[in-house]
Assembly symmetry: C2
Homo-oligomer: 212 residues x 2
DNA sequence: TAGATTGTTAATCGATTAACAATC
DNA sequence: TAGATTGTTAATCGATTAACAATC
């Protein structure tokens, strides 16, 4: 595998979906699959599957197809979930709590080490085993606990401010749920989840399907 | 504007972001903007902005630029948020509650008419003015209240089942937060929010930025 | 009018699909 | 070996960027 080749984001966007389907095949006890079979399950072209995978190496075998388990593991490695990532949540509201309670993230190696909030009434509260701390303790906590990822589940104004602070504290990536762009230096990774944009795309499709 | 032209999904994906930036310009009291100024704010090319907008009509004026307020309104119309949409949530957990509590959706015309759950202890509970009902009342409720959109904030197994049920009940679109594809007939719109895929993309970027 | 900026065509770039030789 | 299916090249399709004439 050529580690330096830059992979297009279109390919990266599809990898987690391959990973999910392969996981389900494993659960179903399937050991091998051809690009053609996977193609019909996932509703993408077999050609695309083979092209995508070959960006990372020849994981298949002619005449046989792909070994489900080993392809699953390879994609896991590519996605960087063959190791753990320490994470904190900023914002102990419903959305922050939803992320903490959703146990699958932890299963994939995303370890939630703490939740921060500025509501003093929440200080010391335990949410699903994770304790709520005040924002002023955050920078130290990030440095001492080797935190790589911060999830921002707070309103946009605070998100912009705290985004800067955690970037300065040295986190590698921000998972941003606030409805704003963060405008941080290029060495800080930002992955946005803009729910309102998703809902507007849905609304667009409603408006334009009905037309025909 | 040519109502029948099919607009590429790449363009649609960008529209809500234009809408957001224009909204902020309005708040800031800005009345006109050129594609060049907007380009540097949004970090996309001016050419792309002009191309995107011209899919829907000539909203600008040579030598002047775009009127912020009227462009905002036009994009709102295109996105179908110039009218209201009735919506229900299935799943009264943290994620469902987060959506109910987030008042911006309501402001944009997405009216949450009810929440459904199968936990009998929640029956009749009021979450932010919206009452929790049991799943067996759902189909009737959807039909009687002209529900267009259903948000699925439940585990994947139930999501697949209830997705079919609400599709049969006649909803136009499903906003799917479950980590699965729904496989419904083509006339039902599905907009997926796969948080775990988003987190894996973030993880990929961490793994591959550190390499250089 | 002169300057600014759009709308739109043409050029480039990138992503997807098709085809098939290589090979298990 | 024969059949199946990959890996990979070539062809096509679509999206983005550049350029500039039209026009406010």
């Amino acid at each position: 595998m050529d580690n330096n080749k830059i992979i297009s984001s279109a390919v990266i966007r599809r990898l987690p979906r391959y990973y999910r389907y392969l996981g389900e095949l494993i659960e179903g006890g399937i050991q091998r699959i051809s690009s053609n079979e996977l193609s019909s399950k996932m509703k993408v072209t077999a050609s695309q599957i083979r092209q995508d995978l070959n960006n990372f190496g020849g994981f298949g075998q002619q005449g046989y197809g792909y070994n489900v388990k080993s392809l699953y593991d390879e994609i896991g490695k590519i996605l960087g979930i063959d190791r753990t990532h320490n994470m904190v949540i900023i914002g102990a509201g419903n959305l922050g709590q939803a992320i903490i309670n959703y146990k699958d993230f932890e299963k994939r190696g995303f370890i939630i080490k703490g939740v921060f909030d500025n509501d003093m009434r929440l200080e010391g509260k335990i949410i699903s085993g994770v304790s709520v701390m005040m924002i002023d303790k955050m920078t130290d906590f990030i440095k001492e606990n080797n935190i790589e990822i911060v999830a921002l589940t707070i309103p946009k104004k605070s998100a912009r401010e705290l985004g800067k602070i955690v970037a300065d504290a040295g986190v590698k990536a921000i998972w941003n749920f606030a409805h704003t762009d963060l405008n941080l230096p290029d060495d800080v990774i930002v992955e946005n989840v803009h729910l309102s944009e998703s809902l507007m795309r849905l609304s667009y499709t409603i408006a334009n399907m009905s037309k025909e």
